[in-house]
Amino acid sequence: MNFELLTYPVVVAQFFVDGLGRGVMYGLMGMGLALIFGIMGLINFAHGAFFMVGTYLMYFVAVQLGVPFPIAIIAAAVGLFCIGAVLERTLISPLRKRMGENWLVDGYVMTIGLLIMLENLALIVMGPRDHGIARLVEGRTMISGIIVTYERVVVFVVAILVVLGLAAFMRYTNIGRAIRATSEHPDAAMAMGIDIRKIYTITFALGSALIGGVGGLLLSTYPAFPTIGSDVLLKSFIVVIVGGLGNVWAAMVAGILLGLIESYAQGIAASGWQNSIIAAVVVAVLVFRPAGLFSKSVSRP
């Protein structure tokens, strides 16, 4: 333990900036998972694998084809949108149709199957080797002694844009309204003439696109590797549970919280105990506030 460091304001501020940067990444990771869970009730265990596919897509488009980074990130998101749509239509939708109310357990076992397939396919095709980029944006600046890389700033701005964009999409577009309506009352949504199968497909594809794009965005921090997704999946789970399953905005707040905790914990104690502590915190949240840390209701699911 080294609390002495915390007596220097610059160090504390630096930890804060680092934690914020990291937390925003975790928040971004959790959003797709939260969206899919919130609307469909499905826990997507292939979430991390989708991230992995996103990093590879980014690598190919940006490095192999030499396309500018912003376009490559969008390409990764679009690629995952298509993959998500196809998987939902071919695998998840039939399962929901057949199982009726009880499809959820089978649904997440299905995504586990997807996860195993995708990870090992990546291993065969790409081999156990990192494919990454040094950084998205060059350069950094000092603000009164605190180092801020431009990359952090870019990720931060993108995160804000994604949160606002998603909020606007959900609020002001017909599809966004239909997605919210379907998650609240699928039968009534059908009575409005909404084809809820399409809505589920769009939702799953959108959640996949989010995590795919995030995979592209974070390629420099998380280089493409077949099992890179398992850590991402765990982090996303933590963020989504702490924020409240299915709550997209709270996932971002929980992500930042997690990033800050990790940053300060690592600054003070260099051991691996913060992992145990975070796991314990997650268990406590699940037991005492299953609806999430920030939800007003303490109702149990």
């Binding site: 826990i43 357990v105 149990r300 699911p301």
Partner: protein, 355 residues
Amino acid sequence: MKISSLWGYLGAGLALLVLLLVPPLADNHYITAVFVSVLLFFILAALFDFMLGYLNIFNFGMGGFMALGAYTSGLLTHHFGISPWIGLLAGGCSTLLLGLFAGVITLRLRGIYIGLTTLFLAEFVLFALSNLREYTRGAAGLQVSTFPDLFGISFGRGDPLSLYYLLFVICVVIYASLHFLVRSRVGLVFKAIRDDQLGTSVLGFNVVRYKLLNFAVASFFTGVVGAFYGNYIGILVPTTQEFGISRTTEILTIAYVGGRGTLWGSLLGAFALIGLQEGFRVIDEWRLVLYGAFLVFVLMVFPQGLAGAVKQLAGWVEARFTGSAQQEDPEQKASTGPAQDGPEVTPKLPDRKVP
């Protein structure tokens, strides 16, 4: 009825015969090792299914539970020189406590929330084990001593067959206990709780007690199997592949492929998936892709798993055999016919015409 139970005995006899005779007849370390993993995964999947298939408890912490059993036994023998035989029981007991704890904290949770809680509980155990380097040696690995001789039989790692038979006995004991439980009144209550928790509690059953019983039994046996596994592999490393999500995923896959709610289905699942893995060693790297594809395929095509497919097949053969295939009784239309003594209002025929 008679014939279907006959099928059961036939299947059980065949399984026992294969499990008992093939490894010694093959007399080949590789075959024995394959059979050890079949038995290990079979019993772990059966335990997983005992929770999921009968009480809808999604224990996503199987790997961590195993780890606790394995480490309890390993640490006790390593630091205190306690016999690994006692270590088996000690591993079971410590895991039982973990299971009871998990049971108590998840009592009021449901479905995926139980799964996530057990998952992170197991992650906590695993992180803690790798952090307690002074005792567990962390990632460097903890040596586990072998079982001492018993009744003049050597259980060293040079004698895989005797270890195999030891595991066989453990599996028989566990399977018999689970089978007895699910076939008894307790099993009926389990199913009742699974289908309608509130209704069952209203009938006067103590739902809490039954849930904890399920957790306790499954966790104890998981710990015992974990302790055996530790002794079998000889060195414990707290990795995800050994004791983390990956391990749980494998167990879950086998339980699912075998068929939910049928303990014996797990044996089919274990044979199918381990067989698949070993059979396809030639195309080495593709076998795990096949593993995932097989899981997806079974979910899509055989929702009841291989056990369901076998049951269907047996039912079909039986129907052929006894000739009682379909006895479609004519619709009992008379039973709910129109009321005879209704008030005499307008006649029943529609008085409006469709042009």
